[in-house]
Structure formats: structure tokens, C-alpha cells
Symmetry: C2
Subunit: 272 residues, 2 copies
């Protein structure tokens, strides 16, 4: 039996009663720890709260050893795979595990929870006015992927808002690790709203299709669903210097066809 359990967005209290019941019944617990983080709590604290050991499932484990470590075990025992947010809120990884489990005739139960994909509704923009979600990844010297630009263009032409999910780099091996095969990682990095805006403006500067610009109305969000949640609305340029604090950050590019009610709501979060 494999439970895929959404943890919600904040800390240990954001699990559902159904989720906690499932956790209690598990013989082994894995925490997916590379597509998102729980801002309010560590894996160790979460384990103490459950009274159970939690094994960190990093990218390596999930992509190369999931079958052996998680799925084989789930054939005989009850295994819980814990996911920040909703199990299907973000990454394809979780669908992949379910597909593989089903091929192995393992019983799978999904326990849903809040995801950033719906919690962003808290800023007052209506979820049904959002188009396709885009991912903004950290630019490097040699890799500056800008496929999001075309998607944002489609959304804005159709009158949709765009949610931008910002990059997370956890357990990225260092160059030395890759060359010499040793275990050594860069410190974790989480993209800020500010970096996201810089990258967006750089791409607009290159493409010059005027999909958006410094005057486009946007919303920056940090730690949505936690007690330190921060939401600020303003133009892209205005938000460039706002300090959103600790991760995780998200960003919304509003449609120019924004509704009156949505505008009124955003006023509460207007940049000072």
C-alpha cells in the first residue's frame, strides 16, 4: 500500500486529519524534498511530531532508487510518500511514481491538500482567470531558458493571469562532486521575486515583443499559507526592490483585462 500524502504549505499542522491517520499507519515514511520545502518546519521536527522517522527522498533517490526503496517496500508494507503542498500540485515526479506503482499492482491512495496553485487565490485574483502556469529557472552564464516568454504571451493575449513558480535548487552537486564522484552539494537556493523580475525583464529586453514591461501589474507572494505570509502588488518595476524575506516566493503577472473586484482586492496589498 502506498499513500501519497499532501502536507499543505506551512508546517506540521497543515496536514489533514485523514493524512495524519495515514501517516500513523505507515511502516515507512519518505519526504519528497527537492521540488518544494515546508517553510515552517524541518524534516526532523516533522518526524518528532509524528513520532516516526522520516527518510529524505532527494532527487537521486526518487529518480533512480524509487522502485527499489519505495515501491518494492510498498508491495509488502504500508509506505507513505509525503509531499509539500498537494501531491499533484507541481511536479511530474509524483505522477510518475503513481504510474510505476500501478504497473506493479500496488494499491495507491492520494490524500490531497492545499497547493500553491490554489492558495494564491488568497491575493484576490480569481483562480479561473489564470492561464498556463510557468516555471522560472535560475539563469546561468551559459543556460538562460526563456520558453516561459511564449507561454506568458499566450496567456496575456487570451486575457489570463500567469502564475510563475520560482526555481528551487536543493542538493545540487558541485562541479568537484561531478568530476570526482564525491558527495558535495551547493547550499540550497530559492529564487526570489526580485531575481524572477530581473530575468523576466531581461528576456523582454531581448525578445522585444512587448508581452509585458516594467509597468505591468504584478503580485509577489512569499510563504503563502504561513503566519509570515507576505503579499505585495504593484508594477513589475515597483516590486523589483521589495524585500519578500525568506523562501518560498511566487510571482503573478496580471492580465491587462483584470476585473474590478480583483483590482479592489489587490489594493490591500499595494506596494508602499
Amino acid at each position: 500500500m502506498l499513500y501519497i500524502i499532501g502536507l499543505g504549505l506551512g508546517d506540521e499542522k497543515d496536514i489533514t486529519l485523514r493524512g495524519l491517520e495515514a501517516v500513523k499507519s505507515c511502516d515507512a515514511l519518505f519526504l519528497e524534498a527537492y521540488t518544494s520545502i515546508l517553510p515552517g518546519i524541518s524534516r526532523i521536527k516533522l518526524g518528532e511530531f509524528y513520532g516516526k522517522e522520516i527518510i529524505e527522498a532527494d532527487r537521486g533517490l526518487v529518480e533512480t532508487k524509487a522502485e527499489e526503496l519505495i515501491l518494492e517496500r510498498a508491495k509488502k508494507e504500508t509506505v507513505g510518500f509525503l509531499v509539500v503542498g498537494d501531491p499533484f500540485g507541481r511536479a511530474t515526479t509524483h505522477s510518475d511514481i503513481v504510474v510505476r506503482a500501478r504497473h506493479m499492482n500496488i494499491n495507491v491512495e492520494v490524500i490531497h491538500n492545499a497547493s500553491i496553485m490554489n492558495a494564491i487565490g488568497v491575493c484576490g485574483l480569481q483562480l479561473y482567470n489564470f492561464g498556463m502556469t510557468v516555471s522560472i529557472v535560475f539563469f546561468t552564464e551559459t543556460w538562460r531558458p526563456d520558453s516561459f516568454y511564449e507561454k506568458i504571451e499566450k496567456n496575456r493575449k487570451a486575457g489570463f493571469h500567469t502564475l510563475c513558480l520560482l526555481d528551487i535548487k536543493v542538493k545540487e552537486p558541485t562541479m568537484r562532486a561531478m568530476m570526482k564522484g564525491v558527495e558535495e552539494y551547493h547550499p540550497p537556493r530559492f529564487m526570489s521575486v526580485n531575481t524572477c523580475i530581473e530575468q523576466l525583464l531581461e528576456v523582454e529586453e531581448n525578445k522585444k515583443q512587448n508581452v509585458y514591461n516594467g509597468s505591468t501589474l504584478c503580485v509577489g507572494l512569499a510563504r503563502v499559507g504561513t503566519s509570515t505570509q507576505k503579499i505585495v502588488s504593484g508594477t513589475m518595476k515597483e516590486l523589483l526592490d521589495v524585500d519578500f524575506g525568506e523562501p518560498l516566493h511566487s510571482f503573478i503577472i496580471c492580465s491587462d483585462e483584470i476585473h474590478e473586484m480583483e483590482k479592489e482586492y489587490l489594493e490591500f496589498y499595494k506596494v508602499e
Copy 2:
């Protein structure tokens, strides 16, 4: 103090620990009961589970008496407004209450939960490949609103899937009630996947823009997130005769640019 508390999608066990803590602290509890329902449980049973009385907040109460009954009370006491799914998953009503509460300087805290808008990810279609969500309302003799057609067209042209939220009619006053001012309601009605498809095909038949047709790949979903959840994928025509059982139902029109992994996942739910 006003808590807006998401209940999730199934029954009393889908509330989060944080949500339950808030419920316990409330002097008064209202359940929003006209944009959605909890398939697995009634208001009375929910109240027994909490050990508290829950007042039903129907459309009339929320739209005309929210200020007096909910907000004035929240100025002095702790009031909980319970919402099926996530507080911002679906209706503008909830944003409206928050805006009004903020204007009255009432402290508002939102407790998120799963919403149909993200839980549909369970069928294997990736959430970020969805465009704008549309609402399909019951056609009547004289009122056959089809504004969804244009939105589906935009989504499909842009390569997005479309989530269709299906109409719910709860506490709709009868003609007699409206004429004579008495309290009398039609029995509750919930749109089925089948009715949704009939309406969609009728509109295509009239508009003839070939936005979709009987051969378009779709997914019907019922009672998502509950133990009786049913998901079936197939062409619009194939799904026309599938019995999805009890409410609530949802419907997805897939993009023709569906990814390989999404297709593989949908195979699990293929119509027999």
C-alpha cells in the same frame, strides 16, 4: 476575528489540524452551503464531529445578511466561515467577504485546503497545462448561456486543457416562492458529466467552429478526493453514457497537444 477555513473535498477528516484548531476556538461557525457540498457528510454530522452547532450560510444569508450576521459578530467574537474545498478555490463570494471584513478592520485568517482546482491533478493531467477554468450552468428553456465556448476555444488554441466546473443548484426558490414570497425550494440539483457533455455538444452544433467534437479526448471525474472517487477518460461521445454516480462531478476537455506521460496516465482510467 474571522477565520475562513477550507474543509477539503471529502468529509470531516479532510480538515487540517490548523483548521480544526481554529474551529475549536470559534464562538460561531457558518458553513457556506451553496457553491459546493461535502459529498461524504452533512452539516449536522460535521457539527457533531466538532461538538459545535454549525449555521448554514445559504446564498441569501451570504449575499444579503453577511454583514449583520457574520461580520458584525466577528468584530467582537471569533467567527469561523467554513468553505468546502479551499476558500478561494471557486467562487468570488469568499473574496467578497474578505474585502468587506478588511474594510471593517476585522482580522481575517485564511486556512487553506485542497480544492477541486488542484485535486483534478490526480487524473494525471499536469496542472500547469490547464488554461482558464470555465463554469457550465444548467440550460433552461429560455437561458442557454454559452460564453464558455469562447474560453474553451482560447484554451484549445493555446494548447491548454480546460477544467469545467459543473452547476450546482441548492435552495433555488420555486416560482410559487418568488410570486408569493413564501419559503419553498426546488430539490437540490447537481450537473452530471453526461448533461455537461450534452450541453457542450449542443453549443458546438450551433456555433460550428469545431472547437471540440464527439471525438475530443476528455476526462470525467466524480467525488474527487473521496473513497468513492470515479475517474473515466475517453472521447466526449464515449463518456456520454458513463454513469458517474452521486455528485459532485467535474469534467476536463484535454488539449490536442497532450503530453505522452499524461496520455499514459489517462490509460489507467480509460472507458471500458
